[in-house]
């Protein structure tokens, strides 16, 4: 057993406490599974490349100007590739490696327009982070796109049911990733 520091608990990193109780009051997103039919975004592009699946609800709520995307990804190479694609697409991009860094980013920096969220992360996994984000009054409306190699139907349904706006199965070409983020943000 390692004697190193224990992984942070998202419960201990209460976003309300970190960000303060004020801020826009938004209703949590409805848990609406959209697994088939209308609402699929990027599916055609991914299939053309031989990838599995992407699901998303179009939001059309983006602000004018340079939108901010937070990449929550523990693997450096995967994060670097996503950040390169997004930066070249005109986004301001931040990166967090786990739930603790995510909470710190949201507290000290900026609430992004979109969070690209890996599932297998050290400590708190991406699904649990998503459920906490959706329950938070200031963060519930932030677009979240799951970004993971876990692409079983069960995983996809879980992500969408928890309120994800998209579900990207890795690996994915940078160009396609950018197209999907643009689509989710209505750009």
């Amino acid at each position: 057993m390692s004697d190193g520091p224990k992984p942070p608990k998202l419960e201990d990193l209460d976003f309300t406490e970190l960000l303060g109780p004020s801020g826009p009051s938004v209703k949590p997103k409805p848990a609406t599974p959209e697994v088939e039919g209308e609402g699929l975004i990027g599916e055609k592009a991914l299939k053309a490349e031989g990838y599995h699946v992407v699901l998303a609800r179009e939001r059309g709520t983006a602000r004018e100007g340079k939108a901010v995307v937070l990449v929550v990804e523990d693997d450096d190479d995967t994060a670097a590739l996503a950040m390169r694609a997004l930066e070249r697409g005109g986004y301001a991009v931040g990166r967090a490696k786990d739930s603790k860094e995510t909470a710190t980013y949201l507290q000290r920096l900026v609430i992004p327009e979109l969070i690209l969220l890996d599932v297998e992360l050290p400590g708190i996994d991406g699904f649990k982070m998503l459920s906490h984000l959706r329950a938070h009054p200031k963060l519930a409306s932030v677009a979240v796109v799951m970004f993971t190699s876990r692409s079983s139907r069960e995983d996809v349904v879980r992500g969408i049911t928890l309120g994800a706006d998209g579900y990207i199965a890795k690996p994915i070409a940078p160009k396609t990733l950018l197209e999907i983020v643009n689509k989710v943000l209505g750009r």
């Binding site: 990838y51 693997d75 450096d76 190479d77 995967t78 670097a80 590739l81 390169r84 070249r88 297998e120 993971t148 190699s149 890795k170 690996p171 994915i172 070409a173 940078p174 990733l177």
Partner: protein
């Protein structure tokens, strides 16, 4: 004297070509980490490294690395460390032979 094995040429997107050397160096480190994990029969560590390989390879234009990763992940999840070790050897061979050229990924 053994015949040299042929090179495997991979064309990578020029927009990310500058990132590829580091990417490949890290995959060689993954081979070392995998062999360490196999040496201590840590199937979960093998699975996790395979999972990362699976997720990252294709994005850089190396779908073969994703395929190796998926097989390593599957073997690790099933506690089949012997199977994983064979795939790790295949991955190491691939990394020794791969040569990168800028161009349109196939």
């Amino acid at each position: 004297m053994p015949t040299p094995r042929p090179a495997i040429v991979v064309k990578v997107d020029p927009e990310i070509a500058d990132m590829v050397p580091r990417f490949l160096e890290n995959r060689s480190r993954d081979v070392a980490r995998l062999r360490e994990a196999l040496g201590r029969a840590d199937a979960e560590a093998v699975r996790a490294i395979g999972h990362t390989l699976n997720g990252v390879g294709g994005g850089y234009g190396f779908p073969a690395i994703s395929e190796f990763g998926a097989r390593i992940e599957e073997a690790g999840a099933a506690q089949r460390t012997d199977t994983a070790a064979g795939v790790v050897d295949e991955l190491a061979d691939y990394l020794e032979r791969v040569q990168v050229e800028p161009g349109e990924p196939s």
